[in-house]
Symmetry: C2
Subunit: 261 residues, 2 copies
């Protein structure tokens, strides 16, 4: 309850709550009391760091609004973007349980955040094991996304890589109710996320425009034709589909809906 004094706006926390429920948390007392612990965190404008990880912290950060990404500066001077965060996501759940290595979360659009003290999280997962399971699943979902990114970066050509990343963004955006076709990533950021040079990303974007997947708008990437993009990327969104992923639990409560291929 320590967050109450400057508590975050309860309405703003709705996406956060919804995500946890999607992940299997029960919409009861345990979740409500966790939500009450969310304190108003700092706001960050595009380009500024939200969290600097690997520094001992006393709280975890929830992205209340906006888009952000996790990056790391490599020894060879490159920047590697490894995860993206959308409204309702935890930005630094991994450092709740383990302190990782030097990395940071930067805002891709203007962002507002909430803070949850580790102590409050401790209590919450101790009292409500379904909530704990939901948080665990949030970690798994993140891992699944990185897994996919690994396959994407390792053995595919630049065109497919960029297209795949854009598809992932589109999908995750619509999952949190953003239907705009504008993706808030510059070519520099695309390059850092796809492990390509900016020059080459530029040529790839031109190719995607040529194929009608991106619009001819300069400055920020606007998707013109989703299906064409999905086709170029060979994108299969299943790995992002939370509700389908919880099959085992859903089967218990709803035995008729098991899907067979």
């Amino acid at each position: 309850m320590r967050g109450l004094k400057n508590a975050a706006d309860p309405g703003a926390l709705e996406p956060f709550a919804r995500k946890l429920i999607k992940l299997g948390a029960e919409p009861g007392k345990g979740l409500r009391s966790l939500l009450q612990c969310v304190a108003r965190g700092k706001c960050a404008s595009r380009g500024s760091d939200i969290v600097r990880l690997a520094r001992r912290s006393a709280h975890s950060t929830v992205l209340i609004d906006g888009v952000a990404c996790l990056y790391r500066l490599l020894d060879n001077g490159h920047r590697q973007i490894s995860s993206f965060y959308y409204t309702g996501d935890f930005c630094d759940l991994q450092s709740y349980a383990m302190s990782g290595r030097e990395q940071a979360v930067v805002a891709l659009t203007d962002c507002s955040t909430g803070r949850i003290l580790y102590g409050d999280l401790d209590l919450a997962i101790e009292r409500d094991h379904k909530l704990a399971l939901a948080l665990w699943r949030a970690t798994m979902l993140e891992a699944a996304i990185i897994h996919e990114r690994l396959a994407n970066l390792s053995r595919r050509h630049a065109l497919e890589r960029v297209a795949h990343l854009l598809c992932e963004q589109l999908h995750r955006r619509s999952a949190v109710g953003i239907d705009s076709n504008l993706i808030p990533l510059t070519q520099v950021e695309l390059a850092d996320a796809c492990a390509l040079s900016v020059v080459h990303v530029n040529r790839i974007c031109q190719e995607l425009r040529h194929r009608g997947a991106l619009s001819r708008n300069r400055h920020l990437n606007q998707v013109e034709n989703r299906d064409r993009l999905i086709e170029v990327a060979s994108f299969d969104a299943r790995y992002l589909d939370i509700s389908a992923e919880l099959s085992r639990w859903r089967v218990e409560t709803d035995p008729g809906r098991e899907h067979r291929p």
Copy 2:
């Protein structure tokens, strides 16, 4: 208790128990009763599949002895090896909570496995939230390793990639008490894990031998000089160091041992 009939040898489960304790589980009743639920699973010889994921299963698999890896066949015909598993690791923890996409775990050495029914896992994490937290951390550790691999594959040259992978294996092997310098990976497997062609991996191995990092033994890779390998790879093992990762919890119980850089 369902596993009791053909229960796995309790002694063989020690690495598994030790790993969970390292991850913060309490060595009490909760852990003991989980161990009793482990049934003897199938054994697999080098090259055969241990688990085929994305198929609905009723149990999770623990690697009791041996080395295995998670792979996926990509549409372009390549095989991507994404994770490695050693004695005491779960092979398919992710499919306990979420069903992912088509992938499989293959034995790199002869392996023996144990099975835990999902229902038993459900009970265990419901009753012992420290155990649940430990399992969560196991997922986080796996995610941290994939994160590192992502950075390794994305922006580094073949020499560093291969060296880094070998360093990771060495480190994880010694963590489970294997001190041999022989790494059970063929050049084909190295290639699939590093996202390189076999031909190129071969030349890289020669370069590593030339630099004195690998021995001139043909057939299977034998590390000659660990320090040189670490130097080539710019390897920093911190991300694998479980005990250091649990800093926050260790601080609570052991406040004197905080390390400062």
